[in-house]
Symmetry: C2
Subunit: 358 residues, 2 copies
């Protein structure tokens, strides 16, 4: 009761901000629990899956987007964000199916994810839950469980459970591919960088939020591993700041959506050093030519010419882990923008912490 009262009395957006600040500590807790993750990886390697079927919604689905890259890059396993409908609504049984299911849900209660796992278990498919809730339906249903160790998350807009979901997927893929220790070390260094960056970025986003206080629409673009970041930043902007934000790959922007760009539709570009950077640079040039304001974030933010705002971050200790840092400017900006618009980022309209819709 006391806890509930003190939470009710928190100033607008306080919980979300505190949870963003807790991310480095939460990530360190996860890494220290990684012996359990190594066990799960051994279990997977006993019969390497022909496909890793990731199922999730919302923030967890954005983590699944990252999972496609983590499993592709480390153990070279094909992973996909699976269609839940094909299994739950249409009851399709796939031919030649030696896959493994990874269900992601911070609450462990997402109804159609639970149903999907029930269907797949009944067919004898191996199942794994990645969740923050040890005592959840999903954790009870699946063969194995990876706990996020993020600690209680009270803000509706998930932040530290997202970073830890990426960390858990990276550790699992790392152990599956024989790089577990390397990933764990890189995650420890990532936690240190996150702690440093949080302080300086909190200041940078405050000015920007005032400038954008009437923002209603935005495109967020990334490519490669940063597609997950683009999707998660767009979701935070929707939840915490009521912006109709759409996430796209840099290349997809040019295949149609660029036609909607104008002075009132800014582009947020996640620029990370690597092979996919030219696609992001090119996409922002086209958007600038149409009069759009550009916000550039990430370790290669400086490569984006003519950006109206720069939110540079440190390079990650390992390219795959870049999204754990790249998401931070977006989380903080969405929070600051929500406040600047007079909203309470902790209490988005129409949402509750556990989503129980069909």
């Amino acid at each position: 009761m006391a806890a509930a009262d003190s939470r009710a009395a928190a100033p607008a957006g306080r919980r979300m901000l505190e949870e963003i600040r807790e991310q480095p500590a939460a990530l360190r807790r996860l890494v220290e629990s990684s012996e359990g993750i190594a066990d799960v990886a051994r279990w997977l390697r006993e019969a390497p899956p022909n496909a890793v079927r990731l199922v999730a919604h919302g923030t967890s689905d954005n983590a699944a987007t990252f999972g496609v890259y983590a499993f592709g890059l480390l153990p070279h396993w094909m992973a996909l964000r699976d269609s839940i409908s094909l299994t739950v609504y249409y009851d399709v049984e796939f031919e030649t199916d030696d896959s493994v299911v990874i269900a992601l849900s911070q609450s462990g209660e997402t109804p159609d994810v639970v149903q999907y796992v029930e269907h797949m278990r009944a067919r004898g498919t191996r199942t794994l839950a990645i969740t923050n809730a040890e005592d959840s339906t999903l954790a009870r249903l699946t063969d194995r469980v990876l706990l996020l160790h993020a600690g209680p998350e009270h803000a509706v807009a998930a932040t530290k459970t997202y970073v830890n979901s990426l960390g858990a997927l990276a550790l699992l893929a790392g152990h599956a591919g024989g790089h577990g220790r390397e990933v764990a070390d890189a995650l420890r260094a990532t936690a240190d960088l996150l702690a440093e960056e949080t302080i300086s970025l909190e200041r940078s986003v405050a000015t920007m939020a005032v400038h954008f206080s009437s923002l209603k629409r935005m495109f967020v673009i990334g490519r490669g591993v940063e597609l997950a970041t683009a999707r998660e930043i767009a979701l935070k902007l929707q939840e915490a700041a009521r912006v109709a934000a759409d996430a796209l790959t840099a290349t997809d922007l040019a295949h149609g959506p660029v036609a909607a760009v104008d002075r009132s539709l800014p582009i947020w570009a996640i620029a990370t050093t690597g092979e996919s950077l030219p696609a992001v640079v090119e996409a922002t040039k086209r958007a600038r030519a149409l009069g759009a304001q550009v916000i550039a974030s990430g370790a290669a933010a400086g490569s984006i010419d003519d950006a109206s705002f720069l939110l540079p971050t440190s390079p990650a200790p390992m390219p795959l882990l870049s999204p754990l840092i790249s998401v931070l400017p977006g989380q903080l900006f969405a929070h600051a923008l929500g406040l600047a618009k007079g909203l309470d980022p902790d209490a988005p309209t129409g949402l509750s912490k556990v989503t129980r819709v069909p």
Copy 2:
């Protein structure tokens, strides 16, 4: 030269409207060419793939979204919209890879799709192009080619090549699963329905377009096979009418984006009879409760309570083919809305017919 002149003189949006009207004839041409599709299906069945890797951008990628369902429902093959980056930028070779590549591009020239196919061919993976351009780079590169037979498409916003891409995927999946003739017959009936619906829908969308002439943002929701429709309608709204439209599954709407919904952000719901209808009904209820206007289209549009606008369509002759009809109200509305906003739907800003960006 004469052709170019006569095109330049066309009234705003004329080409797009003509091409929408040509869809029934284009679809019939495709069905009559389906002997070639049956051959390709036989070639695939010689060694059933453990995964069908679909690669595309823009409208073709929305067709790929449909392909995941077509291959899942008919031959029970796992299909995925593959990450182009993992192959093109990170050069990952997957373990246990007995997949087949299907590259979709109406022009056959999309640069990173071409590069992806080059990488996969070099590894000995079977490749197939689905394209409207017989003499294209993609058609020359791949082992097999399915031509769309849509006829020349001049409007930048693709319409008849989309419907024929869905038709080609349905025929291929149908032949692969031993239902080729059934799909062909159902597509012929679909072409007849499309012809009838076009006339009545052209009238209905005209009134709606005037009402929404200051529309800047929209969410488009669908579920199951209609996720492809939601994505394609959102893309047409971006291209032809400069609306920042975001496509979501009905369930994903509840996992965050619903927080951005208010009176200025209407929801377009694609309602089709079937297992996933309750999720769509539930999502629109939540949006209505937040003050959003709801547009309901599709064969089950009447199941959506309190919709401000209804654009009902006929049920498809086969549930899988529903998206070929469901997309029509969105194509016509995007066109009418572009005109109502004083834009030229044939000439979206910043786009050309063949997208050649990296």
